[in-house]
Symmetry: C2
Subunit: 319 residues, 2 copies
């Protein structure tokens, strides 16, 4: 009989979320490991393997795990390596052959690795809002802006495994400096950090305008969301601005791969009541007539607490 | 024994070029039919079928043709239809089920149809500069700017068959009006017509600057090319400007599909001595560090007179 469970691991800058998942996309058991206390990859992998073995043991599922799916920043599906991930203390330099190391530490259990946005796309296709879709683009609006592109039911990895860096396409020519070093990236405007930067800029540029955001010392995207919910004019306009930048970028993405839908995921996607209208307006204004009003805008349907684990775990079904 | 020959047809606004091609990519016989003298699709298809039958008969190859590949503006691979092609007199309105009509007129010979840029990509992959490449983007720089995107050795058609309209991604926000109705499309700057528009604009904006281009009444991209060859400063700057717009757009395309190469084709690609340096500079300045100096810029290696027929014919090998 085929082994009926998979492990999903979502590795972030602070924590690694680990869970055991069944074929219906239910997380049966989960645990969290801190991921920023390790100086080198071997010690992190060793700690992770201990955590996973205990999770399996406690759930009484020894011998029933088919494989492990891992989502990690700069994870490469082809090579199984994590390549220079700035926010991982044990992987910020060079290439870490993570999939091979973890497989070895887990008694040769098969391991598939990809970046977090691709994992989210696979998760959404396997269990979520993109179920049944063969051509869609997943955009993750979190601390950064990530993307996972699905074509004919498969994640697009490209020649080198790094395809789908849509957060670093140019949204504003000669605009803000992005964390990657380039100017005007989509991520510099439409991530959680980007929204906060817009707020700080606008508060500074319009000292005459009153806003609830002036009451905050370090404005976050969450503050902007709460102010918008309270009807604050500037906060509402920030979401309109953010949505219109997203929408016109989406128009260009549509011209590339002609997807059936664009699926939004991540913390900032919670502001859908403020983002949907400006995104759709800018998207339809900037797309070729043949796609006007034809491409759906969807939001992730996975529960936020499970989504990261589910996305990573979905990779493991094909192992 | 398998039939050893295919027919390739490239349909343009003025003519349809037809040829018989063997597996080595040699055009064994060819002919041209005017394509703008027909008011409706049935009469054009009938004339085309007569032309093809005569071509086969004259080459003494009856019963040896495997199938027909057709490249046509707005051709849809999935449906076999030509959808509202503005420059085809018999197809400028509605959808013409061209593949089915031609197949019927050719005694049920199988017909594959796609747009001209996708056909060029298949041709380049089968016979030309992209031979052996599995992930590349073909950009056709002709009257317009077209594109054919190849992923894992297959043309990207997308959900609806119309993927790869990179000529209508935004190159200059709020820029020139494009033929499609949108503002600032890549095609409005980097097609033959776009280059001529740049020349007209610059001559007008810089009346103090002398240029060979002032001697022309209606400046064409060919005039700009010849002036650049003669060392004309403005003409050289026009190509620098055009190349840098192409290069920064290519940087965004790379972030999408992580190709091994970008392949240029079409009349304007003949100006490669003036375009290559500014394209590469802008491309590498605007791409994420991981792709800097990694993605090749190639030029079509197919002889210009055969390329259109070869591209279309290559589609037919999989029929």
């Amino acid at each position: 009989m085929e082994k009926p469970y998979v492990l999903g691991i979502d590795i972030g800058g602070q924590t690694a979320k680990c869970g055991i998942v069944n074929a219906r996309g239910e997380v049966l058991a989960q645990t969290i490991l801190v991921s920023n206390k390790h100086d080198d990859a071997p010690s992190f992998v060793e700690a992770l393997a201990q955590t996973l073995k205990k999770l399996i043991l406690d759930a009484d599922l020894e011998g029933q795990i088919r494989g492990i799916g891992v989502g990690a920043p700069n994870g490469n599906y082809y090579t199984g390596e994590i390549k220079q991930a700035p926010n991982l203390s044990w992987a910020h330099e060079g290439n870490v052959p993570f999939a091979a190391m973890l497989s070895k530490a887990m008694d040769d259990m098969p391991v598939a690795l990809t970046n977090d946005a691709n994992a989210a796309a696979v998760g959404e296709m396997t269990y979520g809002a993109a179920k049944g879709l063969k051509n869609f683009i997943m955009i993750t609006l979190g601390t950064g802006v990530g993307s996972g592109i699905v074509i004919d039911g498969k994640v697009l990895y490209g020649h080198d495994g790094f395809a789908g860096e849509l957060g670093h396409t140019c949204a504003v020519r000669g605009g803000r400096r992005c964390g990657c070093g380039k100017l005007g990236c989509l991520e510099a405007y439409c991530s959680a950090i980007g929204v906060a930067r817009t707020a700080v800029e606008w508060l500074d540029q319009h000292p005459e305008e009153s806003s609830l955001l002036r009451l905050r010392e370090n404005v976050t995207s969450k503050d902007v969301y709460e102010a918008a919910k309270a009807g604050d004019k500037m906060a509402l306009e920030i979401f309109e601005y953010t949505g219109s930048i997203l929408g016109r970028s989406f128009a260009d993405f549509i011209a590339f791969s002609a997807p059936e839908a664009i699926v939004l995921f991540g913390g900032l996607a919670r502001a859908k009541e403020f983002l949907t209208a400006p995104i759709l307006e800018a998207m339809n204004d900037n797309v070729l007539p043949l796609w006007r009003d034809k491409v759906k805008l969807l939001y992730s349907s996975l529960s936020e607490s499970d989504a990261a684990i589910l996305g990573a775990s979905a990779l493991a079904w094909n192992l």
